[in-house]
């Protein structure tokens, strides 16, 4: 910890992790900066004043300042979302297996019926994707009812998970194509990691979105 800026950056990270909203973080940091700058001018550096455990200091300060906080609970949220998505993936796979012969029959229909092949493709991939997203959202809503803003988080996930799916599917397909559609374990692991990474990122982003919205409302109410 060399400077006031790095001390405040550490404190800000701790506050963010602790669920302190943006306006409160800014107010706490501004107050602290003022004190630290004055102390530095008198020869006392941030390390001397705050000690080695800045995150603990930051949490104590947030508690004493009485700021409202909503813990992100990202770890639990992501774990349950992924478990839900995996369960949804299983159901989706079963659906695909069931749907496949049906789609073949549809595709074999005479052209006069006018069923575009894109419809079949969207149905083939879209329905299982819908099951995955629904399972992930339902899992976090049902298993984490005690987490604040979980309803809003679920709503944000319903928007962001499909977007993540749309982005990661061509990426994964391109990777599979680049390997000649290899089924080697390491290739499959990378493909799974790409999908899991996209789901994780979308879930974390959804949580952040839900909390940001909440902090915005709190800040608007306090003006």
């Amino acid at each position: 910890m060399d400077t006031i800026d790095s001390a405040l950056a550490q404190a800000d990270r701790a506050w963010r992790k602790y669920g302190v909203g943006g306006a409160d973080r800014a107010a706490l940091a501004a107050d602290l900066r003022c004190d630290l700058r004055a102390a530095e001018a008198d020869g006392f550096g941030p390390a001397q004043l705050l000690g080695p455990d800045i995150p603990a200091f930051a949490r104590r300060l947030a508690d004493e300042a009485g700021v409202a906080r909503v813990p992100a609970e990202s770890g639990r949220l992501i774990g349950i979302a992924l478990a839900g998505a995996a369960a949804g993936g299983g159901i989706g796979l079963a659906l695909l297996t069931t749907m496949y012969p049906m789609l073949i029959r549809l595709a074999d229909r005479p052209r006069s019926l006018g069923l575009p092949v894109q419809v079949a493709v969207v149905a083939y991939y879209g329905l299982p994707a819908l099951v995955v997203v629904t399972a992930a959202v339902v899992a976090v809503r049902v298993l984490l009812p005690d987490v604040p803003r979980i309803r809003e988080t679920g709503r944000a996930m319903a928007v962001l998970l499909p977007l993540a799916g749309i982005l990661v599917t061509p990426l994964t397909m391109a990777f599979a194509w680049s390997t000649g559609y290899s089924t080697a374990p390491q290739v499959l692991i990378i493909e799974i990691a790409l999908v899991v990474g996209a789901l994780t990122g979308a879930t974390a982003l959804a949580r952040r979105w839900a909390l940001r919205e909440r902090h915005r409302l709190v800040e608007a109410a306090s003006v």
Binding site: D35, A38, A41, L49, L50, F57, L61
Partner: protein, 127 residues
């Protein structure tokens, strides 16, 4: 492996516990005698001999007392650097300090009486 003195460690813990219940009152008392900025208050606390209490403890406490309206801060120009935030007692802070002081005096009086009783019980009677 260096093993510290367990008695000294226990004494330290005990002192910390005692301090925890009285530190906010001590800070109010110190500010009542003269307004101070955060790290100056740390120095003043140290000078009282009550124990080592760092800025990391005092600054959050000051923040709480400010939230509760017991202290207020104002900017004071400094000849050596940026303006300092100086904390001083509010009227509510003085009233609270008076109330806490009375409570503390009553409490320590009771504790003293209990300890004196124990001393008189354990002192052998002179013949």
């Amino acid at each position: 492996m260096i093993v510290g003195d367990p008695q000294a460690a226990e004494d330290g813990d005990r002192q910390t516990q005692l301090l925890r219940g009285a530190l906010d009152m001590c800070l109010l008392a110190l500010l009542a005698s003269e307004p101070a900025h955060g790290y100056e208050l740390v120095r003043r606390v140290e000078e009282t001999g009550i124990g080592a209490v760092g800025y990391g403890t005092i600054y959050p406490l000051l923040t709480r007392m400010r939230r509760l309206g017991l202290v207020a801060d104002r900017q004071q120009a400094s000849p050596t650097g940026p303006p300092r935030k100086v904390y001083e007692l509010t009227t509510a802070g003085r009233a609270r300090l008076d109330a806490w002081q009375q409570q503390w005096t009553r409490f320590t009086g009771i504790v003293d009486a209990i300890l004196s009783q124990r001393e008189s019980d354990t002192t052998p009677a002179r013949s």
